[in-house]
């Protein structure tokens, strides 16, 4: 069995465990390559069906073509989509683009709090998220089934043991579990899989005529493209084989302070 097939089988196993164990289960879909691969794996796990809703936390600052692509897949694949927004913060205009918040505060309000509001409203107890260990160091410390307390906080110093694919599926009322079926994948695995399975990804990942492409997608004001001539999936794979810069290098909010991203994640960011 080749390596990609091993990764796929493990992810399918985790998705099925999650579906069996959580009555109120949802999957976060950021429209990016990872959560789209995750969506594809869900269809593998459930034989063409996606038996839970997808949640997209919309900051309203996303790159516009992301929303078009999202709505097209929802219609093509007959998906159940819930769009969450932090309406209060947006109404008050306390955002980074308005100049009324730092980048990190803006992420905290629009994404982290926006997510919490959706979870509370729909009483989700299990949330499937497409983070990977190789993305950045705090994600490397995640479990496949990772508990969050009532305030959505992550106690990284005291995580449950996870062995032999026996996951934490018993939890107190008011807490919820983040499920990470892609934890063991790397960036290049994701692209190899997109190529093998012919999964449709948003064209922002491919180099434009100015020799730029997005390596990681987020809000327009805080996400920049990288210099690249990779115009298709095989060229991206070839590029990644030789790069030594990190995947989130285009994400400005990570760079506000040494531990900006770590703090966001402890507080409940994806």
């Amino acid at each position: 069995m080749d390596h990609l097939t091993k990764l796929e089988n493990q992810s399918v196993y985790i998705l099925r465990e999650a579906f069996n164990k959580f009555e109120n289960l949802a999957m976060l879909w950021s429209i990016g390559k990872d959560s789209t691969v995750l969506l594809w794996l869900a269809r593998k796990a459930f034989f063409g069906h996606v038996p839970f809703p997808l949640v997209h936390v919309d900051t309203t600052y996303k790159i516009p073509s992301m929303i078009e692509y999202r709505d097209r897949l929802v219609s093509d694949w007959k998906l159940d989509l819930i769009v969450g927004k932090n309406e209060a913060a947006l109404a008050n205009g306390t955002t980074y683009p308005n100049g009324k918040a730092t980048r990190v505060e803006c992420c905290g309000w629009l994404k982290k709090d926006g997510l919490k509001q959706v979870l509370d409203k729909h009483h989700f107890t299990g949330v499937i998220v497409g983070v990977r260990r190789d993305e950045e160091p705090t994600r490397a410390k995640e479990r496949y089934f990772s508990p969050r307390d009532k305030n959505m906080e992550w106690n990284v110093e005291d995580q449950p043991p996870e062995l032999w694919d026996q996951f934490k599926t018993d939890f107190e009322k008011g807490t919820h579990i983040r499920i990470h079926p892609l934890l063991h994948w790397t960036e290049i695995n994701v692209w190899e899989y997109i190529e093998r399975e012919n999964i449709p990804v948003i064209p922002l990942y491919f180099a434009n005529t100015k020799g730029e492409r997005y390596r990681s997608l987020g809000c327009a004001p805080c996400t920049g493209p990288i210099k690249s001539n990779a115009k298709n999936v095989p060229e991206i794979i070839e590029e990644l084989r030789h790069t030594k810069t990190s995947e989130r290098s285009g994400r400005a909010q990570d760079k506000e302070s040494e531990d900006a991203f770590e703090k966001l994640r402890r507080d409940g960011y994806m």
Binding site: K44, W164, K244
Partner: protein, 631 residues
């Protein structure tokens, strides 16, 4: 940190060892020396160190979290990737701090190999031993020991040899054979990816060379099939049983037996979505199946083929490590999770609590026996309902389990052998889920009174070979000698106990199984049982041999050429078989498989019945092993 290399082979390794023996420094250095660092990372950390006015530490490469940099210990299992010329590696950096054992267990349970670091200056410490022991319990079979900080002992060959001798002996006592010991100085890069000049006496390889000698584990395709059901889906017109094949191979048309419960049905299709379709699925594949006959099966059931079924019992014996905040105690209800099964359980017996650092038994007062945090124990669990399981040594995936205490996974364990009653196929066998009850009179008490232990003389041979004659002669001789002896005769059994069975291979097997179980009961009662059954199939006799404790089973081949048997034909059966009035008659229309290594062989065309009995008695006299049947 990216791992931007296409690769088909990946090996997951865990790095363990006592706190401060240099694991994080080693990993940082390994990364640097194999050219795996992202661009600018080293410079960035060096700049941070300078800004703070502290010396740069290689360990900081791994300890990316703020709090870790402050405490200078790794908090959790972090996974990172690097590459040698041979393949890609995933490193699980497991922390050595005592309280963080559960993170080490988390990391190590998914690893295929381990590196264990020992500080050359401090030598073998508590965690060095504890981790070594846990690795063996977690089923890790590939291990290399790195003797680090050789710079602190002047790169002394003698010191290295001393540590190797001491720790190798410890590993041997827990059943681990290391692939090698390597002297290193992680801080300076000696023997990591490059030899360095400080240890000219070292003739062995570097760490990366040692790593490349490890083997990637292959899925257990050739093992018995175990397909635990994860869920049953009805998203459309199909009713799909979903799960991952843990071992073996599953094919369309296979007759599956589901345990617990003994329901069976046949695989109609193997279901996959957007993948090449195939009528075969192998260990490691997450698939779905549909069945030809709809039977009630739910999550937890384990599908197997009926020639190799799992145990199905309400108790098992295990070795367990405990990580819970509260101790594991008798009288409390816990949840056991094994493959996809879950059930309420409690402790029946704590046989032994072991200090995993010294391997010594922890002594506690009788009434206070418990298993404390970070302790290891041998115990027997009883379970509220039957569980399907295997021995860990035979099939790891269905031979290990975790224990949930409240909301927390608080311990894990592996199932060890305990004389479990083995099952055979047959939907009408319903009584496996029972407990073996041990009376107050033990087999030793009975053996003492009788002057001999129980056992069985298993006569096998063609019809007419002389089994019944020998059996009744032997019984009388033993009786006259004051021994407890009893004959179980094939014809007698088939009149009653087995009157529902035909002479098909399946029913012959079931017949032998019942006889074997009956024999075992007689044997437990202290009898020397003499059985007289054709028992033509080697596999069936081997089954009987398995059911009877070792040394108590004396296979006796009553050997006469078929012509002689047919001449004798005491019951007129050969004549009927030749006239095709009897179907499936052994030697005529059904096979007889002679024993390959019988304990006794009796050529009855050369010996009289009395001579045969004498041979058996001589055999029993000559045996003196304590557990063997002897008179």
């Amino acid at each position: 940190m990216s791992t931007n290399t296409l690769t088909n082979e990946q090996l997951k390794i865990v790095i363990v060892g006592h706190v401060d023996h240099g694991k994080s420094t080693f990993v940082g250095r390994l990364f640097h020396d194999t050219g795996s660092l992202p661009e600018g990372k080293l410079e960035q950390l060096q700049a941070i160190a300078e800004r703070r006015g502290v010396p740069f530490e290689w360990a900081n490469l791994m300890d990316a979290l703020q709090s870790e940099r402050d405490q200078n210990i790794t908090i959790d299992t972090a996974q990172i990737w690097f590459q040698t010329r041979k393949r890609q590696y995933v490193i699980i950096d497991a922390p050595g701090h005592k309280e963080f054992l559960k993170n080490m267990v988390t990391g190590a349970s998914s690893a295929q190999a381990a590196l264990l670091l020992i500080d050359a200056h401090e030598g073998v410490q508590e965690q060095s031993r504890r981790h070594g022991y846990l690795l063996s319990m977690l089923g890790i079979r590939q291990l290399a020991v790195l003797v680090n900080k050789m710079d602190l002992v002047g790169y002394s060959e003698a010191r290295f040899n001393q540590i190797e001798t001491e720790y190798r002996a410890f590993l041997k006592s827990v059943g681990l054979e290391p692939q090698g010991f390597v002297p290193i100085a992680a801080k300076h890069g000696d023997n990591i990816a490059n030899r360095g000049a400080n240890m000219p006496w070292w003739q062995g390889g570097t760490v990366t060379q040692t790593l490349d000698r490890f083997e990637v584990a292959h899925p257990a395709e050739n093992q018995p099939l175990r397909f635990p059901i994860q869920d049953v889906y009805r998203f459309d017109e199909r009713r799909i049983l979903a799960g991952r094949i843990e071992s073996g191979t599953l094919k369309v048309g296979d007759r599956l037996m589901f345990s617990p419960g003994n329901k069976s049905s046949t695989v109609k299709t193997i279901e996959r979505w957007s993948s090449l379709s195939s009528d075969v699925a192998q260990a490691g594949e997450s698939i779905g199946v549909t069945l030809t006959e709809q039977i009630f099966v739910e999550r937890g059931a384990v599908a197997a083929l009926d020639n190799a079924l799992p145990f199905e019992l309400t108790h098992f014996k295990a070795r367990l490590f405990w990580l819970g905040r509260n101790p594991l105690t008798k009288g409390k209800a816990y949840k056991v999770k094994l493959a996809t099964q879950e059930a309420e359980c409690s402790i029946e017996t704590i046989h032994r609590v072991i200090d995993s650092a010294t391997l010594e038994t922890v002594s506690r007062r009788e009434k206070e026996i418990f298993v404390g945090r970070n302790e290891v124990a041998e115990l027997t669990f009883k379970i509220k309902r039957p569980l399907a399981f295997d021995l860990h040594d035979a099939l790891p995936s269905t031979g290990r389990f975790v224990i949930v205490d409240g909301f927390e996974v608080a311990g894990g364990g592996i199932i060890v052998d305990d004389d479990y009653p083995r099952r055979t196929a047959g939907e009408n066998i319903k009584s496996d889920n029972i407990y073996w009850s041990h009376g107050k009179v033990t087999p030793a008490h009975r053996a003492n009174r009788n002057g001999h232990p129980g056992g069985v003389i298993w006569l096998t041979g063609l019809s007419g070979s002389g089994k019944s004659t020998i059996a009744s002669e032997l019984e009388r001789e033993l009786f006259n000698l004051g021994k407890q002896a009893f004959v179980l005769d094939g014809d007698n059994i088939r009149h009653g106990l087995c009157s529902d069975l035909t002479f098909s291979p399946q029913d012959r097997r079931e017949n032998i199984r019942r006889v074997s179980e009956l024999t075992k009961l007689f044997m437990e009662a202290g009898f020397i049982v003499i059985t007289a059954f054709i028992s033509p199939y080697r596999a069936d006799r081997d089954l009987a041999r398995k059911i009877i404790p070792e040394g108590r089973f004396v296979e006796t081949y009553v050997n006469a050429p078929i012509e002689i048997c047919e001449q004798r034909d005491p019951k007129g059966l050969y004549a009927k078989a030749r006239a095709q009035e009897i179907k499936e008659f052994t030697g005529v229309s059904a096979p007889y498989e002679p024993p390959l290594k019988p304990e006794i062989e009796l050529p009855t065309n050369q010996l009289t019945a009395t001579e045969c009995v004498t041979r058996i008695l001589e055999y029993l006299h000559l045996r003196d092993a304590e557990d063997s049947i002897s008179i």
